[in-house]
Amino acid sequence: MNTVIDLKGVVAVLGSFPALAGVDLSVARGEIVLLQGPNGAGKTSLLRVCAGLLPIERGSGTILGIDVASQREDIRSRVGFLGHANGLYLDLTVTQNMKFWAATVGASDAEVDAAMARMRVDGRLAHVRTAQLSAGQRRRTALASLIVRRAEIWLLDEPHAGLDAAGRDEIDHVLREAVGAGATVVLASHESERASELAHRIVTIDGGGAQ
């Protein structure tokens, strides 16, 4: 099976606002796809649909061959998602956060240490509470916790936001490596130059549809 994301005419609603009004999206295994579009175009909602977080009102589709309309719960454990929020516990230290997320997916301590070193949140930062970190450091911690997930599809909403140049390079590196290992990446980013260099394909979306 080569198509890992296959959405047709997807409509998703936030409250009473149609964030997605019939979007098609098709992504093949091993691709890095960049979602582009103005603010409020539905990039975040589309990523949340792909993650199985946002139910679809109409339309149909499969993620990794799983039906998005009826089996959202089964999709979740196989994808990795990084939204605008980092999904961290602000009262916990970096290590405590990492250990917790590793425990929920059954990752080993060695994997945790490697991921933390990779995203440079080890050493001095390891025992700082995430509330006291800078925005970029928190983002790096969140990415480190994503690495230990070993997801089949990586869904990233503005992964570069708040990061310095070295951090951005590191993310691109991590994503390329993940794709090399057989994963697929879909990301939304305003760093269009950098992201389009990274991406194999650019999809422009504007609520009503994707080309």
Binding site: V13, G15, S16, P18, A21, G22, G207, G208
Partner: protein, 255 residues
């Protein structure tokens, strides 16, 4: 009440309301039965040997709590049906919601008429009797249920949340009732609650009582039909609004 209902009967706009010929007949039947009940209860039926004239409150008090119980049972049944259904029709959820709202109204009326009766019989509006206390909890529980129905979200979210909550209430209510009974039975301070409540019913009184149950049941069905259709219209309009919004969004995107 009678005046308002009659206004429906003479309405010529058959299609533009939640009424039909059947509900109009049902409404008329409810009015007639309730009027007869009032005459029976307030004028014709005799005073009770023990309770005296206060028994006349019973003819309205008992049917209200009867309707409330019926409504809450219906809410639970519809919620269970919604959750177990394969296609998850929102119709079940709407009936559950309509029924719970009517139930809340009638529990309130029942508590009110009950306390008026208590003021005469026991000299106090409220006693911490097991039945009263657990009815008060029932009332608050379903106010909470209605509050959850009004939370933001899509229709499916609303249906799922409130159905689960309605089934939780089915577990909670017996527990509350049981514990309150246990509480009262071991602490016999409210002995007033057991005095002077014996009713010796003669045939006419018994007939009035059952007639009251029937009359209020008809009223319940009438209210439920209309309320549930009103919910249908609300849901349909929000769906239409959504369709329009989707269409607008699409056009915007194409341009």
């Amino acid at each position: 009440m009678a005046v308002r209902l009659r206004a429906v009967n003479i309405s010529t706009e058959t299609r533009l309301s939640t009424g039909t010929v059947a509900t109009r007949r049902l409404g008329a039947l409810a009015i007639v039965m309730l009027t007869v009940l009032a005459v029976l209860a307030l004028i014709i039926s005799p005073e009770d040997v023990n309770q005296g004239s206060t028994v006349r409150i019973m003819y309205v008090h008992v049917p209200t709590i009867w309707v409330a119980y019926m409504a809450f049972i219906l809410t639970a049944v519809c919620s269970a049906t919604y959750l177990s259904g394969r296609n998850r029709s929102l119709g079940w959820d709407r009936v559950a919601g309509a029924s719970a709202e009517i139930g809340v109204l009638f529990v309130a009326l029942s508590l009110l008429t009950g306390s008026l009766w208590g003021r005469i019989t026991w000299g106090t509006y409220w006693v911490w009797d097991a039945r009263l206390t657990s009815t008060a909890f029932l009332f608050i529980t379903y106010i909470g249920y209605l509050a959850v129905r009004r939370l933001d979200g899509t229709q499916r979210q609303r249906a799922r949340r409130s159905s689960v909550l309605a089934l939780l209430a089915v577990l909670e209510i017996p527990l509350v009732h049981f514990s309150v009974r246990l509480w009262r039975s071991l602490h016999q301070e409210a002995s007033v609650a057991t005095g002077g409540t014996d009713v010796e019913l003669d045939d006419l009184m018994l007939f009035s009582l059952f007639f009251g149950l029937a009359a209020f049941s008809v009223l319940f069905v009438w209210l439920l039909l209309h309320r549930q259709r009103m919910l249908y219209l609300e849901d349909a309009m929000s769906s239409q609004g959504l369709d329009a919004a989707i269409e607008a969004r699409r056009k915007e995107a194409v341009r």
